[in-house]
């Protein structure tokens, strides 16, 4: 039996080169960057270097990067921190219906508890958001728009550069929609993207993406867990979610996770350096897996656009069976994947992403995500393709459900 980890969208193993870069800061260079002595200064220098290195890759200024505890905190800071700080300019947000929970739940909170209005954009059946759709949702009182770069469940890639460009033009053409009180003549709405899933595969040049806020994290790109960053364009005002010292300009107080940040910077450098070659390799494996499943297993549906998706993402609904049961059968065969079924979530809600595609509950319950990574080989894919058909057949034999053929033909 092989062990095939196909859950890289959940998290990735640490790249040995990242670990190497981190180790000194877990051992001898343990200083607190805020300390006024040589030990502290060493840590501060390393922190600054990491910030500079990341800024260069993202094509931004070092002082535009805030370090956080991960994707969730960065998303929360973007949504809550920005909207609260700018609510005198308008109380309307636009987010997509299939954002990560870190964005959706924050937006829901603003809607339910703080008097904001939120427009949720539904993706089309392929999991795509259109430029026109976003622009049509913008109102004079819209202060914030968030569209994720690549979806974490179905991997579809949104036209962030186009949307960002259009929003910038909209701001120029509508200078009077909202009075602007900030230095830098900044106007609304600002544009945020959650790029956590995109770091290993897509171009992160902020100048090309035309975003004002961008979330990234370490643990999806072979970096450490518990560390992330938020790009905040100069002039964009956000307020803190927690209070304490003056670290990260007081927006994100607390002693910096020095080793984690250094690891994240190294991981970003490697991921962006290798992304073109690695994406080509993974695209071949991805399409091999999709085609293979379609060939060998009847009654399946590929969720999300066939080509406008991450090179490592395969999301398939296996009709008539329930995802958790299937995941456990796969697990027993050494294959580690994830499902949009309600049964694996503590809330007992099936995937909001699959439902947002306009698909019924039973299709969401049967969805399985295979996310490929550095370690994935041809042999792994062949093993998965040999393993899946009898397991599906076994579970289908137990199932009384027959999903309407319109969802898979």
């Amino acid at each position: 039996m092989l062990n095939v980890y196909l859950d890289h969208a959940a998290t990735t193993p640490l790249d040995p080169r990242v670990l190497e870069a981190m180790l000194p800061y877990l051992k001898e260079n343990f200083g607190n960057p805020s300390s006024f002595h040589s030990v502290g200064k060493d840590a501060k220098d390393a922190l600054d270097d990491a910030r500079e290195a990341m800024a260069k890759i993202l094509h931004v200024r070092a002082d535009e990067l805030l370090f956080t505890s991960g994707g969730t905190e960065s998303d929360n800071l973007a949504v809550l921190g920005f909207c609260r700080a700018n609510q005198s300019h308008g109380k309307h947000l636009v987010v997509t219906a299939f954002e990560h929970h870190a964005v959706i739940e924050a937006a829901l909170h603003l809607e339910k508890k703080e008097g904001f209005e939120v427009t949720y954009l539904s993706p089309d059946h392929d999991g795509m958001i259109s430029l026109e759709q976003v622009m049509a949702a913008i109102r004079p009182d819209t202060i914030f728009v968030s569209v994720m770069y690549a979806n974490n469940e179905i991997g579809t890639i949104q036209p962030i550069g186009e949307i960002g460009n259009a929003i910038q033009k909209h701001r120029k053409q509508n200078p009077n929609t909202m009075p602007c009180l900030q230095p830098g003549n900044f106007q609304f709405p600002v544009f945020h993207t959650d790029a956590c899933q995109a770091t290993g595969a897509l171009d992160l040049d902020v100048e090309k993406l035309h975003v004002d806020l961008m979330t990234i994290n370490g643990s999806k790109m072979y970096g450490p867990k518990g560390v992330g960053a938020l790009y905040v364009r100069r002039g964009v005002k956000i307020q803190p979610l927690q209070f304490g010292g003056s670290q990260e300009k007081g927006i994100r107080p607390g002693t910096e996770n020095v080793a984690g940040i250094i690891g994240m910077a190294k991981a970003l450098e490697i991921a962006q350096g290798e992304r073109v070659a690695e994406s080509q390799r993974l695209t071949v494996l991805r399409d091999m897996l999709i085609a293979g499943i379609r060939e060998r297993v009847p009654k399946v549906r590929l969720n999300g656009h066939a080509t406008k998706r991450l090179p490592n993402n395969v999301n398939i609904s296996f009709m008539d069976i329930e995802g958790e049961a299937f995941i456990l059968y796969l697990d027993a065969s050494g294959i580690y994947a994830s499902t949009g079924s309600a049964c694996t979530s503590t809330t007992l809600d099936p995937s909001h992403v699959i439902l947002a595609l306009g698909l019924p509950y039973e299709v969401a319950h049967g969805s399985v995500r295979f996310s490929l990574g550095h370690a994935t080989t041809d042999a792994d894919i062949a093993y998965v393709l040999d393993t899946i058909p009898p397991l599906v057949e076994k579970l289908r034999a137990l199932s009384p459900v027959r999903v309407d053929p319109k969802y898979y033909v």
């Binding site: 008539d320 069976i321 329930e322 958790e324 049961a325 456990l328 059968y329 027993a332 079924s341 309600a342 049964c343 694996t344 503590t346 809330t347 007992l348 099936p350 019924p360 509950y361 039973e362 319950h365 034999a397 137990l398 199932s399 009384p400 459900v401 999903v403």
Partner: protein, 225 residues
């Protein structure tokens, strides 16, 4: 007595700790055995006419659907054969498999014995289920009672059919599933709205997963979404 009063047996590592070497797995060894080697499921080529009672519970929309086929000896009212099909997670499959064993072992239970089976009995035989799985996945006792009624209906013994009385969902507020059904029909489709009407789970949040499940079930039943 409510089906929801007993605290489910759970391990403290992962969801349930296996007995074989301390490595934590999501389910117990017994659950695992029944999940990977399900007993008595209805084979594709089986003839439904060989059975004289059928039962059904749930829908794929609420995450689980279960159908059962029973062969009952009309003279003794003993269950001679019990077959099932389940759309659901690991614990749904395992608990149905275990129930099929319980009603047919030792020559088969009588219908009146079978009617007394509660989720807790099935769970005990399985060696426990994760807390969050208990409410949603142990449905086979309901399908079984549905089949028992079906047998009496088919044999014109309508007086022996038992209409399910409403169950108390929250022993603190004494709210029943019927109360929740009424609240949903009155337009309360979220947990907050149902709580505002019924006070269910206030001060007793452990019942909320079951309440949410019911809200979803009734929403699907009456409004199709």
């Amino acid at each position: 007595m409510s089906d929801y009063e007993q605290a489910p047996v759970v391990g403290n590592k992962g969801d349930v700790t296996t007995k074989d070497g301390g490595k934590s797995w999501f389910y117990t060894d017994v659950v695992k055995d029944h999940f990977f080697n399900p007993r008595n499921f209805m084979h594709e080529d089986a003839n439904p006419d060989d059975y004289n009672a059928i039962g059904k519970v749930g829908s794929p929309a609420c995450g689980d659907e279960l159908r059962v086929w029973m062969k009952v000896d009309p003279a003794t009212e003993k269950i001679l054969d019990f077959r099932w099909k389940t759309f659901g997670c690991g614990s749904a499959i395992a608990s149905t498999s275990m129930a099929s064993l319980m009603v047919t072992e030792n020559g088969g239970m009588t219908l009146s014995e079978a009617r007394t089976i509660k989720p807790q009995h099935i769970m005990d035989r399985l060696g426990g289920l994760p807390a969050r799985k208990f409410h949603c996945s142990v449905l086979c006792d309901k399908a079984l009672r549905d089949a028992i009624n079906d047998f009496y209906r088919r044999t014109d013994q309508v007086d022996k059919m038992v209409v399910e009385a409403s169950r108390i969902i929250d022993p603190v507020s004494k709210v029943t599933d019927h109360d929740i059904e009424e609240a949903v029909l009155d337009g309360a489709t979220t947990i907050e709205a149902v709580q505002a009407k019924t006070k269910v789970g206030i001060g007793n949040p452990s019942v909320l997963p079951a309440v949410e499940e019911l809200i979803r079930f009734y929403r699907e039943k009456y409004f199709g979404a």
